[in-house]
Symmetry: D3
Subunit: 288 residues, 6 copies
């Protein structure tokens, strides 16, 4: 989940980064008492995420700014739609503008891309889930954007679920450890009962050894479609099945139809382009 | 400039975000004494940026990790090139992997895109410069990536240079302030002699009034090519000329040939895709 | 898991709290070059936890102090046993003494009490698990102490697992929400596949509705022994079973024999007494 | 003294520790608009401490929560007494519950134990005072709890008073320093006139040398009752006298009757058990 | 510019430094409900700076304190003038008093001294500018005080403008680098177009080489008056001219008449004495 | 006392303030491998304080810099004396220069002024003590500088000693509280036995009432010399006597001869001028 504390921390750091000792231009050129109204307008269609970052930025800059929201997180909008309006001190709106846009553009880009993936798997039992390929410092916000787009989250971090990948298994093997099943079984016995246990396999012949250890989810990494189908059949409900590895908008529907439960897409947060949103000032500006 | 302090702050926050209470998978499955060698390999061609973030991540996780760098910031690489190798504790390499990749992929994406813009203006007097459309929290790193790609930086923030935009001029007008030249002249007289003074104009007929105030740079925003040429001629060396507004890889060469000094491209940091880099583990792994 | 970062944060804050502007007594009375050897000695028997806090305190005060550890986390010790020795600067040892003792005494108290519970359920399939009744600021260390005593951890916090308690169900009911099964099912469908889902019930007749929603663990709160047995039989492996509520050293063995998988004991961290450890200085002290 | 800043720092860190990314259970199961009233009820008798931590926790979670306090710090309460009530958002009350209880239970445990010691020395001139054996991070709160119980505080830390103990004197001796009186006299001449100067002695024959140096307090460590009486007579008002060392509820009254001014009891904060307090929700819950 | 964030950071740190665990005297002796009115009175004449620090200190201590300001930043005041009054809780006023005075006395000392320099150069084209010789931690406030006194700021820090001094040129020479002009020209080509480029020269014969590189400002360090005149003539408007080096109240007018644009005076912040301001309590005090 | 932690916090903040994103001049103009030697030279005579800040600044910038100290804290030096030398990376020395000088100049100014006061009271029993009139953020360093000059410290802050001033007594009176003696006696009974209790009086006829309450120190504020003598006689060793109020270099010797124990001088830290120290670079510079 995304807490207000997290949003406020990100927003305050961003505001500080964007004007460590104030906005010298507005202080020189914009009278302190000038007021304005700015409209956050979509320059391309998409799915929104980040309304709370807009509110938090506005409040951090100037609690007296009024924010009216017309589109909320998870809603679709079209070119030219007004997403929100800010009104109040002109200096405050100019100060908040870039930080709010930088955050909302990126988050809405993620929500929009996620929504495209989600729409492509509609009717199947597959969830679209994110990965740890997030922007450093923004993970909680980007995970929230994935949810805005209709996707689901995978584990938050290395600390809150076990996910044994090829590298771990390789190290185990090279280290001369016990057979895979025994090792995984022992690992499982060590962790809290609330900790999810997932293992990645590269080949279909690894599945039985992993299942025998009692895992919650098996990730089938870079499997061809027929291998995925075979994997799903072999696992047969004894664990959740996650498909992973270079899944794109072109391939996701076919992958979903193999019967997997989860499709993780690094590109949701990694390969995403910021969406084009802008702030338009209404004319004429008033005075208080 | 990008200081080690800034890099370390970003890297430590990212490591903490990625494993607030440790990597439970490696602690369960990878023996503490297992060693490994991981190669950072390019999965697509590009221009590198972020070697210092790799070193900082590695040092923050485990000062005993050895980092060997084969490609440095600003250098081109090809698919399959090994950019760097890490060797030492397997647990440490796994812990550093995602954070280092998330940073380097984004920064190298920026450097690569910047380099494409820079190559398109080669032979002209125009510099490619960045904007404030950066990822919140990563501005100093992303500006460094622009320099890795051969671009230049614009002002760092709202605090270190004056840049009067349409919105400022609009507020001035609406507030019934003095004529533009007088206002700008007065503003200039208030600031430190070390503060750069730049003004954005939307129409060619605004240029003379701005020039009369004595500015360092005039930004011609969303000017057509012939308007840019006319603007450059009119300004005639009395100020630097910056072209701005929806400049793309398709249009940048033509813009550069109009004689402008600076071309600012928000897309360098805003519309960029992370470059695909991966970490490959060598087999077999040894023990100390 | 307990990371070095967490330990260091706690230790540094404790050292700062214990001497915000230095140890004026030692600075006045102990020559800067005086050396000493201090032995950490058990004044009562127990199970150790906190060796890493001892090392961290020592290193934070003076990296030149030498720490030799004779008993490690999870090991039993007797009255008079020397747990560790510190040698080096006398001022540094006096500076580290109280902080190290305050931490290790509390953590070893937890490990010792946990070990008593664990020994009482030996031979059954029940795990002893902790709760959120921990000392504010020390949760990660106290959870580690529970593991030192042979216990297991429950969820770390409100953020990393769902645990629906009587109050949640009460609020649901009062709010006129849908039937329990439907509500829990819907909730489960919203969360990440890696998030554990546990529900507390107060009466045996609530179990079927909860099971029907598909939960990972059912907590039987304040059940009598025969109710626990009936609950275990009814659940029959379809979920883990956790016994909870006023379980003491007197009752834990009987509870474990009902067949529950987990027994949560708030008293492990809540009702625990610090164990008596002391630091004895060897005589005579030397000079470098 | 205990400042609001200190309380807020502890409370915010505890809330963050208890839900770093939110309370996922309440967010799933408790409607945002549901309201509730929770009563903080005593499950055993005692003396209260920590009302300000309750208010601070409540305010940090949700400034709109209403807190009504029925018992204040230092007051006795009985089993079943309602100490305070919280009303407002059900989610907010559930979020604040554990942190507030964890703090108040520990602090009230300290106040209750202190009050028992204090009542045992009533009628004598002896004060019960605390020590540095406090929980790392909570010293200022625990000292306040000692005052709630009618006790007094000793020095806050190593920085604000001199307390020369056996180890210091041992180091001095071993280092071949001047005679004890001269050394203490010199030390006293170095410090601020506002710094209290106390010296611990182990044997009655050390007293005269210490008194001759001009000290504020002499601590008689581990003295038998008749030795304490002899010490008090020998010092005869020339310094305050503090008894120290394994003083328990069984022995404290006899110690107080020897005429000492101060009795320091490490167990006030070190050997204390958290008091059993609970939060009961009223039914039925309403909606706003 | 001086932001509220900066002021608040300084004020909060100062309040914490001045009373880390509260004001024990007022808590003992001043009833919580006692009210008072304190007048900030000038004990010597001067120019004010720091009204915002007074407001921030008052608000940080107690938002209910009322602050009435009679003299604002930049205004002259005389002995005995009341600069501001605080009214409200007596405890709060006593808590804020020392921190507010310590800040305002220093800042007003700077403004007063600056105003003396500024008045001495009236009628010339020279600006009085500050240097980096500021109190660590207070630079932004002290720069603001210089502006209160009618002075101007030089660069904020090493990061926001190039200022090549004798030491830099010495290092260059010693390192066998290219000729001065070439080196400076290359340096200039590397930096952002918004970065001011200034070079210090010690001798008049260095000026041409520096001018040839295209610099924004030339600093003439420790030049005699006739050398300054010669330098101004030689530069002839091709760059700004800054005089620097041991300029005092005695010499500044003559320096200004040489035609330089800027006169930097380290003593504005470095050699300044705090101005004598005091807080007088009105009698009799009331109760709420 | 002044801890390394405090020094490092101040130094790091100052370095960050002086170059938030690096020293762009040195990075452009000084080769990374150039080395230099800088001598810290006295431009006027004085008493040194701040050697530890020099070492800390140097270490924070570059642990490889070598610092050789020729004059230590508390020692007198003459014009032209070399206080310390730094050698190593030229960039690092240039980076450390201003911060180290800004700190040492101020601290040595305080030590020098204190030493003048101390020499004037030599032969009397009076100590020169400081006040809370220190630079916000630098109190611990400035108190250390007072000790370097041979002075003593008063209480550190409002938290560590009681000092009842005229304002407190005024509030008491106005609030209709009990008689002065009773109030002070009650206050004394509330505080820790380690807390110093001092009361300021304005008139000689207040002394007996204060003495009767049992105080540690009486401050005679703004007493004429004969009043001071009378006060000392009246108090007659029953409490320490502190003279306070506008004591200058001209009057301090006479005040000391009245027999007071303490003379507090706000001007030690409040009215002090930074001492002139400079950093001279040796020529020619070498390369590694």
């Amino acid at each position: 989940m995304l807490t207000d504390d997290t949003i406020n921390r990100v927003v305050r750091a961003a505001l500080d980064e964007d004007a460590p000792w104030g906005d010298i231009t507005s202080d020189l050129l914009v009278p302190a008492e000038a007021t304005a109204t700015g409209s956050l307008v979509a320059r391309e269609p998409g799915v929104l995420s980040g309304v709370r970052t807009l509110r938090a930025t506005s409040a951090a800059v100037d609690p007296a700014l009024r924010v009216t929201v017309h589109v909320t997180d998870g809603e679709h909008f079209d070119v030219g739609d007004t997403i929100a309006t800010l009104s109040g001190s002109a200096r405050s709106i100019l100060r908040a503008e870039r930080v709010a846009l930088n955050l909302m553009q990126r988050l809405s880009g993620i929500a929009t891309l996620t929504a495209r993936y989600v729409s492509l798997v509609k009717g199947t039992s597959a969830r679209i889930v994110d990965t740890r390929k997030t922007t450093p410092g923004l993970r909680a916000l980007e995970r929230d954007a994935v949810r805005s787009g209709g996707g689901y989250n995978h584990r938050f971090s290395l600390s809150d679920a076990v996910l044994a990948k090829d590298n771990h298994l390789a190290v185990l093997a090279a280290s001369g450890e016990h057979a895979l099943t025994a090792t995984l079984k022992h690992a499982r016995s060590q962790i809290s009962h609330t900790t999810h246990f997932e293992v990645e396999v590269d080949r279909i012949d690894q599945i039985e050894a992993v299942l025998a250890a009692g895992v919650d989810t098996i990730m089938l990494d870079n499997f061809a479609l027929d291998e995925l189908r075979a994997g799903v059949a072999m696992i047969d409900g004894r664990a959740l099945v996650e498909a992973s590895g270079n899944i794109t908008l072109e391939t996701v529907a076919d992958v979903a139809r193999t019967g997997v439960n989860l499709i993780s897409v690094g590109g949701l947060t990694h390969g995403v382009r910021a969406l084009d949103l802008g702030l338009d000032f209404a004319a004429p500006l008033g005075r208080p």
